[in-house]
Subunit: 443 residues, 3 copies
């Protein structure tokens, strides 16, 4: 593809997005002129609730920052240095944010309109996170146009899977370990597999300047610190509180385990790959994701974190060698396997969740477990907590089964979506001057 | 000026500031000992409102961070590397914050006292932002003492213009595109013009180490991510909500347009200047500023952002060449022209703002449009929303005219203030050893 | 100690922590399933209070970020570059966070359980801050195992001193200048003294690459910007408001004074040590700590900041030379002396605190000054502000005396704790391959 036509394509895409927004996207009731409490006036009668944006704004800002800078950093700076990866990455982020709003909104349309509020921006950020995670597997293989095509395809698969898991299967995945991390890791690894088969294996030259390594380390610390936000941003009240606490301890534990192993091996001159160590230190954050708001107690969080760190630092490299998985940026040991652990632990915790432990917030975590309308259970619940949206009266065991089912669906979407996307990317249409030359041009 | 006397001057300035604070500055009622709800106690009777600081604190922290690190970075690290620009910049920031509180407070004095609350700190940060933007135009020309004199003069002009625009003309400029970006850009360009005429044109040697370039790119991403905060920080409730959403999409659109053009030109080996590309990607944030909280809908934000990106990346370099504007840090294409676009779009949006679209929040966005006291319109409004501060019953059209008038005032203050400041800086009194030598001293 | 056994030790420590958490740590009532207002539902009857996590979360995130990245940076990047300091530091942080929860919780146990909420995480972060400050004094001397032993000992001393000062002596120290900064600085300097006596004085080679210097400068700016959060995070309502405002002006003043002196000396080619200048610019934040929420007015904050800056940049280097204190990272001039200033100013401000100035919030700042139960004063107070926890009816003067007493206790704990820790670290058990070799291994 010529470069002039590449730019034209992008501009045309932006035009199409603009048209779609004009047709389908509107503000929510929250963002149009309804007089709401501005927090400064005395709370008055019917206006006695806080505005949505003042609740979610700070969460949104933290998530936004973490996704783009944190993951942008880690994914980009390690292998390639400087503009050559930043410019296409920011371009893809900017397209993905707009595209994700449309794809995710499609499933929530009301009277032909997508009503955008600040929560849509948070969800679009999570879709972008999935795309950035997948990029880690193929950044050394692809041209900018391929990155964009992949992002467009991935977001469609992602939004569909998200809708099926959350709205149809009604599972709980507060830290999106399944919906984002597992999905993105295996989607990316599948695409990478398809693309690598296509071309002769060449040693991907990784330019690791000291500075870019340093940025990667800082990016890791940055993610380490913001991970409680990532896991808690979609929860509320006491569930959010637990999500912060559990993530905090899980990360601390996985870091202790990972860094102890790494330090001792460094001292013994057996070199570990630094990027794998960084990723393993973060594995606790992914592994606690699905269960972050569940009643696993701080010691449970420590156990999950330690186990994930151990598996990630020792198990995954072994596994990659055995199955011939090429994963230069450590996507498998940060997102893939810890995500699987999280999904399984989540299913187990869901089986043991009772009204006795969780009190009535059980029904906020697992809405499908709410009693069906006009049953004695329902009357009883309504008597205690006021008006309740009736649910499916799902049992604890079947909630666990649904959690596993959602894992299966996610893996299926990841693998088949990745296969399809990989084949699309191999179309001769998307050949472009290689990034390697592109880098040389600059130098 | 000798260096010893330079230090003495600064210390004397600090002493004067301290005296002025002792004379004129007091806490607000919010920050003295009135027992207010601490959010932990049960809400009780008359204390049922949140404390001001818990509302504005997080906004303040984000704005503070963005202004100093974000703009400090971009302005400093590009051309000059390291301490030689950081030390004077931080010095100027520290002086400006204190000076701006006094200048802005002067217009809001009550009984001879300036009552300082956290919102004053946010406003002082915006004044500092204006100073840092202007610095971008003259950083290669000036000595530390000149920077300080310029900051002192600029803040006076800025605070006066702000008072005239907001309190007398009663215009709406939530993202301060007019009051900060347009003002600061043309103030700086005028000063730069005056100073450059004074001395023989020499090629300003720009030391762009790879590391400092990298920092500039990260600074850009940082600003890109925090821009929704910058535009939303002065709004409330649903207006804040719209400000976040509009800025988000406007930035995404301007980045797509700019980076597509840049990528294609990079691949064609026509080199763009990287700093201009970075600035153009951010142009959407400035261009949406004035209208960020207005009802322009996401597609409107995308159109504004795309247009600003296009003008900024293609139009401004052309324009600078034509009019002989020297702008090594791209202040004109990030702040100047996009700010003008924003002011004009704001005037148009103000003309089309009706009570039908905005509901009663119309009168919060445009207080001058509130009906005059004791008219039938006023009784009607009060009937619907409770106690209302009466306004000027301004029509939509005349509100639009006032927006344009404020743009005129702002440009006048910028150009004449810049001219005056430039002439002051040329006084032989402020000659000092040049920064170039200063850099060599360190090396 | 062998490296294999080092890793085993750490893993065993993690196991022990996990056991202790399983035995003693539980969620608070706030984080278990009590149905609380999720801020989105209409406020209903008895549930009309905000959830704890939504109040403290953002504060926690900012403190977490500042402590680990901000202080991690400054302490580590200056002297040693890259992984060799980051890996052990992150390991120690991860252990300290878990250990501090236990140590601090031990004094607050209820029925044999430590009830963990988000405020515990903030307090654990402050304990970690103390450990990171102390590291600055000995980073060039110690092996990873010694760092860990020191962190474990220091946290025990820290938690005990914190309990004595806050719960027994009932002093006010909102910005933890005494409890963290003074304690950590003199603890670290004592340990460093004990360790240095043990070995022949050799020139510690400080590798200051331009990049790591740059990171240090950015770290300084980062701390400068987040310091209002550090000082305000433990306050509420109007006290929090004052803490932000006072810290803002104090930092600005100390920076102006410090940088003016530094600029003039740079221009005169008398070289200052950059790290000392950076630290002095921040001294205003430490010096205002204890009094940050007291009624000292903005001009008082400016005076305190200026004085601290002056003492820190001129006095401390002189003092270190005189008393032979070795302090390569400037811990004494950032944390030690400014902390002492803060404690003394705090005692003075406490003496002048009256109900006339502070209104009823006086009793929130100084709970011990609340009247004793069932006295006429108590009835009077309860009449005005509702239910009150009775206090000790301490006078203003004796509150001042208690503030001084707490300073004494803190210094005693710091010096004797440091002595004990230093002697423990000299045990041959903790000999390990030196960090210097460790660095060479990597190169």
């Amino acid at each position: 593809m010529e470069n002039g036509s590449f730019a034209l394509c992008i501009l045309f895409l932006e035009l199409a997005l603009c048209w779609a927004y004009a047709m389908f996207v509107d503000y929510t009731g929250e963002s149009i002129g309804i007089v709401v409490d501005n927090d400064l006036d005395r709370v008055r009668g019917t206006h006695a609730r806080k505005h949505l944006s003042s609740i979610y704004y700070y969460m949104f800002q933290d998530v936004h920052l973490t996704v783009v800078i944190g993951f942008g950093f880690l994914a980009t700076f390690l292998k390639r240095y400087g503009y050559s990866s930043i410019v296409p990455n920011l371009l893809v982020v900017a397209i993905t944010l707009q595209w994700a709003t449309l794809c995710q909104g499609f499933f929530q349309m009301q009277r032909g309109k997508i009503h955008v509020s600040i929560t849509n921006l948070v969800h679009a950020d999570f879709a972008t996170l999935a795309v950035l995670i997948s990029f880690g597997t193929i950044l050394d293989l692809t041209t900018p146009i391929q990155l964009i095509i992949m992002a467009l395809c991935e977001v469609v698969c992602f939004a569909t899977n998200e809708y099926i898991s959350l709205d149809i299967l009604q599972i709980s995945d507060v830290g999106v370990s399944m919906l984002v991390h597992v999905f993105a890791a295996y989607f990316g690894l599948t695409v990478s597999c398809v693309l690598r088969n296509n071309r002769p294996e060449r040693e991907s030259v990784s330019i690791t300047l000291p500075t870019s390594d340093l940025f990667a380390v800082i990016g890791t610390m940055f993610l380490w610190l913001f991970w409680p936000t990532l896991n808690a941003s979609l929860a509320q009240g006491d569930a959010q509180h637990r999500a912060v606490i559990n993530t905090y301890y899980s990360l601390a534990a996985s870091s202790v385990v990972t860094l102890a192993i790494c330090l001792s091996s460094l001292l013994d001159k057996k070199p570990f790959i630094m990027v794998h160590i960084q990723n393993s230190a973060l594995a606790g954050g992914v592994a606690i994701g699905t269960v972050a708001d569940m009643m696993i107690y701080p010691f449970g969080a420590i156990i999950v974190g330690s186990f994930a760190g151990l598996v990630s630092v020792i198990g995954v490299p072994e596994m990659n060698r055995k199955f011939g998985i090429r994963d230069p940026n450590g996507v498998h040991n940060l997102h893939g396997l810890p995500g699987l652990i999280s999904a399984l632990v989540g299913a187990i915790a869901a089986v043991f969740a009772t009204e006795k432990n969780y009190n009535y917030t059980l029904y906020r975590l697992f809405p499908a477990r709410t009693p069906m309308v006009k049953t004695p259970d329902y009357w009883n619940l309504e008597h205690h907590v006021g008006n309740v949206s009736p649910g499916l009266a799902r049992s604890a065991l079947s909630q666990g089964a649904y959690q596993i089912a959602a894992l299966g669906t996610t893996l299926a979407f990841a693998v088949f979506g990745g296969l399809f996307t990989g084949l699309v990317l191999r179309l001769p249409l998307f050949k472009q001057k290689r990034r390697d030359n592109f880098i040389n041009d600059e130098a």
